[in-house]
C-alpha cells in the first residue's frame, strides 16, 4: 500500500500499489496461451482487464495474476475460452477498504 499524488497521468502499477494486497502463492486464473496464440488476433483482454494483467510481449499474451482485482472481465470477454477462472482461496487477493 503506497499512496500516490494524482497530479499527472498515473501508471497502472502506481494505482494498484495504492491498494492493500495479500497475494496468493499460486494463481487463481490459468490462461491457455496456446489458444491465445492460435485462435486470437483481437486480444481484447489487453484493453479491458482493468488491472492490466494481460499484456502483449513480443506479440504474445503474457498474464500475471498478482494485480488481479477479481472482477471477472477476462473470463467473460475471452472469445476462445482460454481463461480458467476462480476466486483466490482463503481471503487472498485484493482487500478493498473503500469499495
Amino acid at each position: 500500500m503506497s499512496e500516490v499524488k494524482v497530479m499527472k497521468k498515473m501508471k497502472i502499477d502506481e494505482a494498484l500499489n495504492a491498494n492493500v494486497w495479500d497475494v496468493d502463492h499460486k494463481p487463481h486464473i490459468i490462461v491457455d496461451y496456446e489458444k491465445c496464440r492460435k485462435l486470437c488476433d483481437k486480444r481484447i483482454c489487453t484493453l479491458l482487464c482493468p488491472a492490466r494483467c494481460y499484456t502483449l510481449t513480443g506479440g504474445e499474451i503474457l498474464f500475471s495474476y498478482e494485480g488481479c482485482v477479481e472482477c471477472g472481465t477476462c473470463r467473460i470477454v475471452c472469445p476462445h475460452e482460454a481463461v480458467t477462472w476462480d476466486y483466490p482461496l482463503s481471503g487472498r487477493g485484493v482487500q478493498y477498504r473503500y469499495g
Binding site: 491498494n19 476466486y87 473503500y98
Partner: protein
C-alpha cells in the same frame, strides 16, 4: 471449515454482501441458526460499487440505518453532464431532501455484518464456497474444497460472477451483453476543498454522472461521488460495446478523463488511496436464472440479476438487500411449515413480484439495450457540445437554436433521427 463442523445450522448463505447479510440479519433476528460464508478476509473486502445507495428499502430492514450506518454524505446535489472536447454541458438539481447517500460499500457491508452478528448469525470469512451440496437433486448444503456443510436451505448471494450457479447448470456462463465493467479510484482530499470545488455546503453530498468523453465515447458513463474526505471517480461501460469499440486501455481512458481541466482542478492535491473494478449486472430480468428458487435454494442480489441501470441512476445495493430480506421472510414461513421444497420457497418469487424490485425491473425492462443501441454515448455528446458552444461562444452574430443544431449535426445525423432516439429513450425511462 474446521470450527463450524460441530455446529448445526438451519440456513447457509453464500457471500457476505448486502444481499446475503440482510437475509442473515432477518433470519437470525427471528431465531434461526444462520451461517454466512464469505471468501474475503472481512465482510466487504471484496465488495466494490460506484458509491450511492437509495435509503428507503434499507431502512425497512435496518431501522436505525440513519444513525448507525457508516454514511459518508447524504446526496443533496445531483449533477448530470455531457462532455466532449473537454467542454461540459451540465444540468443540476439541488434539494435539502435526500433519498440517497454516499457510502463505501466495504464499510457499509461490514456494518451489515455487525448487525447480523449481533442478531446471532455466524459469519465465517476466508471460505470460498465452490459448489452446492445436493442429495437426490435437492440442495442440502454447500461445499468448500473437501468440506461439506449441510444445512436445510441455502441462499446463494455469490454476486455477479455466478460460478456456483453455473456449475449447477442453473444459468449459462455470463456473456458480455449482460454486464458492465466499472472502474473506480478513491482520491483523498481535504473536505474543505471538496466542498469549495464542487459547490457544496459542509457535509453535503454530490452525485455526478458524466457521459461522452469520460468513457472515451464508449456506451456507459462516468461518476463522481463525494465521501467525507475522499472523492470517488470512475466509470461504467457496457462490456459488449467495450469489446466491439475499445481502442484504448480502460485504465488509460480513466486517467485521461482525470486530466481534463474541469476534473483536474477538482482532484488537484488529492492522493489516490484505492483503485478497483467490478462487474455489474445490466440485463436485469434477462439474466436472472429461470427460477430464483428451487428445492432448498434461493438466489438473491446480483447473482439474481437484480440491478437497475437507468443511465442517470443505478440501483443495486437496495435491490440486493431487499431481495435478501424477502428471501429471509420466505425461509421463516417455510420454516414454520417445516419444509424447504420449492412449493414452500416459491413465496420468494411472489414477494419479489409484489415488491418494488420486480415492478421496477419490468417497467424498465430492456432499457440498457435501448441505451446501448442509441447514439447517446457516441455521436450526440459531440453534437450537443458543438451546438451549445455555438450558442454561447459568440463572435459577431448569435445563431438561433435551430441554426446551431443544424450546423452541429451536419454530416453526422439527421434531426429526425435524434428526435426518434430521444422519443425511444424517454418512453423507456
Amino acid at each position: 471449515m474446521p470450527y463450524i463442523d460441530n455446529a448445526r445450522f438451519d440456513v447457509s448463505i453464500i457471500g457476505a454482501g448486502p444481499a446475503g447479510l440482510s437475509a442473515a440479519y432477518i433470519l437470525a433476528k427471528n431465531g434461526l441458526k444462520v451461517v454466512v460464508l464469505e471468501r474475503g478476509r472481512t465482510p466487504g473486502s471484496k465488495n466494490l460499487y460506484g458509491g450511492r445507495v437509495y435509503a428507503k428499502p434499507l431502512e425497512e430492514i435496518y431501522e436505525n440505518l440513519r444513525n448507525e450506518a457508516p454514511i459518508e454524505r447524504w446526496v443533496k446535489k445531483e449533477r448530470f453532464s455531457i462532455m466532449s472536447r473537454g467542454e461540459l454541458f451540465t444540468v443540476e438539481y439541488s434539494s435539502q431532501d435526500s433519498t440517497s447517500f454516499v457510502a463505501y460499500l466495504s464499510k457499509l457491508t461490514n456494518w451489515m455484518a455487525q448487525k447480523a452478528e449481533e442478531a446471532g448469525a455466524v459469519i465465517v470469512t476466508d471460505v470460498r464456497v465452490d459448489k452446492l451440496y445436493l442429495e437426490d437433486g435437492v440442495v442440502k448444503g454447500v461445499v468448500s474444497g473437501d468440506d461439506i456443510l449441510k444445512t436445510d436451505v441455502v441462499i446463494d448471494a455469490e454476486g455477479v460472477n455466478r460460478l456456483i450457479l453455473e456449475r449447477l447448470g442453473l444459468v449459462e456462463k455470463l456473456n458480455p451483453s449482460q454486464v458492465a465493467l466499472g472502474l473506480k479510484q478513491v482520491i483523498r482530499l481535504d473536505p474543505v476543498k471538496i466542498e469549495a470545488r464542487l459547490g457544496l455546503s459542509p457535509g453535503e453530498g454530490l452525485a455526478w454522472l458524466i457521459i461522452g468523453q469520460p468513457t472515451g465515447f464508449l456506451p456507459g458513463g462516468a461518476f463522481i461521488y463525494t465521501n467525507s474526505s475522499t472523492i470517488s471517480i470512475g466509470f461504467v461501460v457496457f462490456l459488449d460495446e467495450a469489446c466491439k469499440r475499445a481502442t484504448k486501455h480502460v485504465f488509460d481512458i480513466l486517467e485521461e478523463f482525470k486530466q481534463t481541466p474541469t476534473i483536474k482542478n477538482i482532484i488537484s492535491d488529492g492522493v489516490l488511496v484505492e483503485y478497483g473494478a467490478h462487474l455489474t449486472p445490466e440485463a436485469g430480468l434477462d439474466m436472472s436464472p429461470p427460477k430464483l428458487y428451487s428445492d432448498g435454494l434461493l438466489v438473491v442480489g446480483d447473482a439474481a440479476g437484480l440491478l437497475l441501470n437507468l443511465g442517470y441512476t443505478i440501483r443495486g445495493v437496495d435491490f440486493a438487500a431487499y431481495s435478501g430480506y424477502l428471501a429471509a421472510k420466505t425461509i421463516l414461513k417455510a420454516h414454520s411449515e417445516g419444509s424447504y421444497r420449492k412449493e414452500n420457497l416459491s413465496l420468494y418469487q411472489k414477494l419479489l413480484e409484489e415488491s418494488f424490485i420486480m415492478k421496477e425491473l419490468r417497467r424498465h425492462r430492456g432499457i440498457s439495450k435501448i441505451l446501448k443501441s442509441s447514439e447517446v454515448f457516441t455521436e450526440y455528446p459531440e453534437i450537443l457540445i458543438s451546438m451549445v458552444g455555438k450558442l454561447f461562444q459568440i463572435q459577431d452574430s448569435s445563431p438561433t437554436l435551430i441554426q446551431a443544431l443544424r450546423e452541429s449535426i451536419k454530416g453526422k445525423t439527421s434531426l429526425v433521427r435524434i428526435l426518434w432516439s430521444m422519443f425511444k429513450m424517454v418512453r423507456a425511462i
